[in-house]
Homo-oligomer: 392 residues x 2
């Protein structure tokens, strides 16, 4: 019989995807220049040229069986070595190739990591605002999701609420910094205090509480800021990474899970990640892309276009009177909805072909998200609409 | 706390992988020319030249955001249309792009299909000999696996046993033809009788019993034989496909789930496949490879090298006195172990650096599998070892 849970998951389209497809239909009706689509976090800068150069070089230099053949389930050794060396160069991570498991992007890495550190019925904390798919991944692990409410207006972690919500069967905390949707980078001092809390609670309850750090935006930071390297602040951290944003390769499904040597039961934990991935049908990450990453692990994105968009939007919208947190990373602004009802405000905006995502799905009503991986022309054309909405 | 099930799954390496890695170590010790490794079903013919040509053309013709960007979760429309057209040209399948869901290879397609057509606790039948990972995928769906014993010496389906084993809560039957490990193609008459049985049992128990048809070897057939197109024999068939073998792209993780219009609750079923995939972290199949498939869906492999290996091995080994089923497809021979104990025989062979996989893991003790995707030189050098083992 058809599984109703799976059917519901496959039928209930995400609000974001619905909005994005509405935008495409409207663009066909009224012209793309008249639709201001801030819905989808799809990179708008091309992959660095080294990526396609590496693809061509791999095809030219290696035989077909090597390029396209199975790799080991954990990933090509050369790929893992290149990633480890890059992490060591940037963060003095002390990473070894054996600490890495190459995945088909961040999403299957997160599902595998969640299933590795939880047993059915245990609890996982997420910090609002949070990426809505966490709810799906946590449910797939048979675990319960608890939401630490957003800390306004800074959108840092509400540590008091976090501390009070950690239960004896809390297995893990998911963090995402730079944050989707707020654009905020969690401050080092906040993370250090969080580490103290988690260490105390781990002692109190007699088992490690892992941080699962979802880091697709790690390199997307502005104004000279960087996201602190979490494993150095809290040893029991599992890093889930993807090159979707940093190399503009979201469709290629390539990322990794990194379990640092500092993590409790590291060897068992890596085995559990591998086992959970295997049960989900993981065989290996795409082979050609693994070879590309082996050559491009040290390539950083050129963020100038995103940064210009960020400053234009932040300056213009705050000047108009919109309120938002400091958008130091990722490519999102998370803006307080005038009038307080983000769903109603977004609906009003939609009538003017300005597509905003209400924060309700991120566990944070009263705010809306805009993605600024768009063209600067679209931003400029959209500003009068933002002004008109505020004046209504 | 670390999930012990996941940890066990990640720690218990497969017998085949263990053997393959033993072979690599031995090759380093005694020279690769002295190790006869028949363990791994890794294609030994390169991808057809159209594949790398298509990669280069896609990079040259399309912009980076199109090549490497997210596709919809179900897959690029052009890819699905090309696959549908190919299925229609070859099988008069009546396939529409909407019937297809592009996956990261056959394994995640199988897990999604299994989770779509089962509810926890229901039963899934597999036919021995069977691919050992089915046990993992069925367990991941929370279902129970029942094994229909092998039908010797033909390795067709034992229909009487199958019929007696279908229970009220049997949700699905997994078929794999051409079969790994036997190399046998299930005969049309056998499949037609199976369809009658499943239709009667579906009526009796008041719910459809789906066939999940795992078809990575569909195009690997020899001597003018072809595998019958199952959806035309049994409407409630879900096809799981991969280009791993037919285009020699096992590392690239690209395949599909096809739910024909004839399947009961087709629309809900496709939604359930999408939902199950989503819960496993599926976002889309690798984007560049989707675009390659859109251009190469009609490309067929050149099987001459496999066929020569097949005939050399079959003729030589049967002449020596080994017994096996007709190896009409895939790239495996499944051979009766002299003495009756395949584990002991394989161990004896291993002492002579001849690597065979005992059939026990495939639910079929007393037989061993050899993969003939190897060099003809290795086959020729290995024949005296096969002879010596028989004479011992």
């Amino acid at each position: 019989m058809i599984n109703e849970n799976a059917c519901a998951l496959g039928s209930n389209r995400s609000v974001i995807r619905e909005l994005f497809e509405y935008g495409r239909r409207r663009a066909a009706e009224v012209g793309p220049e008249n639709v201001f689509d801030y819905s989808l976090g799809n990179p708008s800068i091309p992959a660095p040229p080294q990526v396609n150069d590496a693809i061509r070089a791999v095809l030219a230099e290696l035989d077909s069986l090597t390029v396209h053949g199975y790799t080991s389930a954990v990933g090509d050794f050369d790929t893992r070595r290149a990633v480890a060396e890059d992490l060591n160069a940037r963060f003095s991570a002390g990473a070894k190739p054996e600490d890495l498991f190459i995945t088909c992007g961040a999403a299957p890495g997160l599902t595998a990591a969640l299933q590795a550190v939880t047993r059915p019925g245990e609890r996982v904390l997420v910090v609002a605002p949070y990426f809505p798919e966490y709810a799906v991944f946590i449910a797939a692990a048979g675990a319960q999701m608890d939401v630490v409410p957003a800390c306004k207006p800074t959108f840092q972690i509400d540590l008091k609420r976090m501390e009070s919500m950690i239960a004896p069967d809390t297995a893990a905390v998911i963090l995402n910094s730079p944050n989707n949707p707020s654009g905020v980078i969690y401050a080092r001092a906040v993370l250090e205090r969080l580490a103290e809390i988690l260490e105390a609670k781990s002692r109190q309850f007699g088992h490690p509480i892992y941080i699962i750090s979802d880091e697709p935006y790690r390199e997307l930071t502005y104004g000279g800021l960087t996201a602190p390297w979490l494993p150095h602040i809290y040893g029991n951290t599992v890093v889930c990474y993807s090159w979707s944003k940093s190399l503009s390769l979201p469709g290629e499904r390539i990322g990794y899970v990194y379990v640092p040597g500092s993590a409790a039961d590291q060897e068992k934990l890596i085995a559990a990640v591998a086992g959970a991935a295997r049960a989900a049908g993981h065989v290996c990450a795409p082979s050609l892309m693994q070879k590309v990453i082996a050559r491009c692990a040290g390539v950083r994105p050129d963020l100038e276009a995103y940064d210009e968009n960020r400053r234009m939007l932040y300056d213009s919208l705050t000047a108009m009177g919109y309120e938002m947190a400091e958008p130091d990373g990722a490519f999102y602004l998370f803006i307080k909805a005038p009038g307080g009802d983000a769903v109603a405000f977004s609906e009003k905006a939609k009538q003017k072909d300005l597509l905003l995502v209400p924060g309700d799905g991120f566990g944070c009503p009263g705010y809306f998200r805009i993605c600024y991986c768009v063209s600067p022309e679209m931003i400029r054309r959209s500003l009068p609409v933002f002004r008109a909405l505020l004046e209504e």
